[in-house]
């Protein structure tokens, strides 16, 4: 692919998430404005550890296929490359293959023959243990030093690529790049960087683009069109009915970031502390002064998830004011009773399993932080059981079932009945996962990634 320096590069990002769709006409409008590359992020850790832990996508195949079909048609029409990051939500090898399979089917149906690169980012714990022993893995706050057992406990580990593996794939001729786990900003920054755009504006534009319409006055519409040049970038909303304003663009650096001025990427740190935002007209904002400080050591972040146990959930509603008058006291007494029954029936102590009792409508969301202590009108009681295996979790839930249905409030000399929401009242949730890695590896930019160009495996 042509990687010659350009005067400007125009990036179209129609959405913050592959599979979320966009209004009809969004891509057509971008193509009218002129486009050099189309990019969409396909993943995030935001919905929790299940997707990485189980290596399954959050999005529906039909929704992702719909978006891919429209993106591929636009890429052909505009004769421009298409870059998808963090395929399959978590960016595991399964996720890349899942998206690649959808792309292959669509291209066959549409009679397209675009070269496709798959960039795999999944890591083996065995290889990483050697890297750990060599002293090349370091913790990020708030976690501590990594232990080999933690690596071994993960069901899946991915490394987060920067722009370099994507650039290599494009240089090698890929027209469609399906990346495993990639930094959000790198997905949109890669092509501009390859074409010689400066790092500061390219990375800043990449960060702004990553959530699509979030940087516009109406986040529910389609995404953004960004023109990057030697001095900065200009951004506008793809949807004709909304706009980018200084406020919406500047504020996007706040979104899901710890630090709103500095953001670490594998190759260095984006610094927008001195960036200026100017409203060019009703729709467009000009951004200049973004800088990128190249780090002495390139670092690759790891993400990993492991199974914490197996969960079964019980849920019931309480409306009786006699119980609600002291719902916390009722729930505490219920839990004590259930723990006694579990000990007596299954021989399990409190350390052998865990139960989280959540009082939805009272304080389930904020727990001890809840500032409002006034009596609730109605409470949903969730008992979430976590045990070493599914059968045990469900056995505990079944032992908890009759007390949850009939447990009396203080002073009640009869058995009330709560409102079970479903029959059966319990739901087996399967394995539960937790994120355990928040560490970086000292590594060359492309060393931890494997790229395959051409036919799907």
């Amino acid at each position: 692919m042509n990687d010659a320096p350009a005067d400007r590069i125009r990036v179209m990002t129609p959405s913050g998430m592959l599979g979320s769709g966009w209004p009809d006409g969004t891509l057509e409008r971008g193509l009218e404005l002129g486009v050099d590359v189309i990019t969409v992020d396909g993943g995030s850790t935001d919905s929790g550890p299940h997707y990485l832990g189980s290596s399954t996508p959050k999005t529906a195949a039909k929704a992702v296929a719909r978006d891919l079909r429209n993106l591929l048609r636009a890429a052909v029409q505009g004769d421009v490359p298409l870059v998808i990051g963090s395929c399959g939500t978590s960016g595991t090898d399964d996720g890349v293959d899942w998206v690649a399979g959808l792309v292959a089917a669509i291209m066959a149906e549409e009679g397209m023959a675009l070269p496709v690169a798959r960039i795999y980012s999944e890591q083996s714990a065995v290889d990483l243990k050697d890297v750990l022993n060599a002293g090349r893995i370091h913790p990020l706050a708030p976690l501590g030093e990594l232990r080999a057992e933690t690596l071994e406990s993960c069901t899946h580990i991915v490394a987060m690529m920067g722009a370099e593996p994507i650039i290599d794939a494009l240089r090698d001729g890929a027209r469609v790049v399906l990346a495993g786990r990639a930094t959000d900003a790198g997905v949109a920054a890669a092509y501009p960087l390859m074409r010689g755009m400066p790092a500061g504006p390219s990375w800043h534009a990449g960060k702004i683009a990553e959530c699509g319409g979030q940087a516009t006055a109406n986040p529910r519409t389609g995404g953004v069109h960004i023109t990057i040049d030697a001095a900065g970038f200009t951004i506008e909303a793809l949807d004709a009915g909304t706009a980018c304003t200084v406020q919406t663009v500047a504020a996007h650096m706040l979104y899901e970031t710890v630090n709103p001025f500095q953001m670490r990427e594998p190759a260095g740190t984006l610094d927008v502390g001195d960036a200026t935002y100017v409203q060019l007209d009703e729709r467009r904002v000009r951004v200049e002064g973004s800088r990128f400080h190249h780090a002495e050591q390139h670092t690759i972040k790891l993400e990993g998830a492991r199974i914490t146990g197996y969960e079964t959930m019980l849920f019931a509603g309480v409306r009786d004011p006699l119980i609600l008058a002291d719902i916390e006291g009722w729930a505490d007494a219920l839990l004590t009773y259930v723990r006694g029954s579990v000990a007596g029936t299954l021989g399990l102590g409190a350390d052998d399993y865990a139960i989280d009792v959540r009082l939805y409508g009272h304080n389930a969301v904020l727990d001890d932080l809840e500032p409002d202590r006034s009596p609730p009108r109605e409470v949903g009681v969730m008992l979430l059981v976590n045990a070493a295996d599914q059968a045990t979790a469900t056995a505990i839930a079944k032992i908890a079932n009759p007390p949850l249905l009939h447990f009396p409030a203080e002073g009640m000399d009869y058995f009330p009945s709560t409102a079970f929401a479903t029959s059966p009242a319990h739901v087996e949730r399967g394995p539960a996962y937790e994120f355990v890695l928040h560490h970086v590896v000292d590594a060359e930019p492309t060393a931890m990634f494997r790229t395959e160009l051409g036919a799907t495996r």
Binding site: A141, E256, N259, P260, R358, V365, L366, L369, F435
Partner: protein, 105 residues
């Protein structure tokens, strides 16, 4: 009449994960007057936030951004995302104690 809260003076108060191990919150104030109130160190500071969220004051990062009338706060999640005790997967409701903080009269 009930006392004025931060939410009363804000366009939006929001919270969200910043990765699985951090939570971040923003106070988007309506105007410079509202910003001046929440940017006042004697009102919103690391210790007040530490007490509100039961975290260590040393772990709190506080950013005051007058150009946007925004105060932004980040600290490590006290419950790791997705673990058994996590009742707010996206940390999307954790702004509420801060939003309901009464401004000094």
């Amino acid at each position: 009449m009930s006392a004025t809260t931060i939410a009363d003076l804000a366009l939006e108060v929001r919270s969200k994960n910043a990765g699985p191990f951090w939570v971040t919150m923003e106070l988007f104030m309506r105007d410079e007057a509202g910003y001046a109130i929440v940017a006042d160190e004697s009102f919103v500071n690391e210790q007040v936030l530490a007490d509100l969220y039961q975290v260590d004051a040393d772990t709190i990062q506080l950013f005051r951004i007058p150009s946007l009338n925004v105060v932004k706060i980040s600290f490590p999640r006290y419950v790791v995302q997705g673990s058994l005790r996590d009742r707010d997967m996206h940390a999307g409701q954790h702004h509420v104690p801060l939003a309901l903080l009464r401004v000094p009269s």
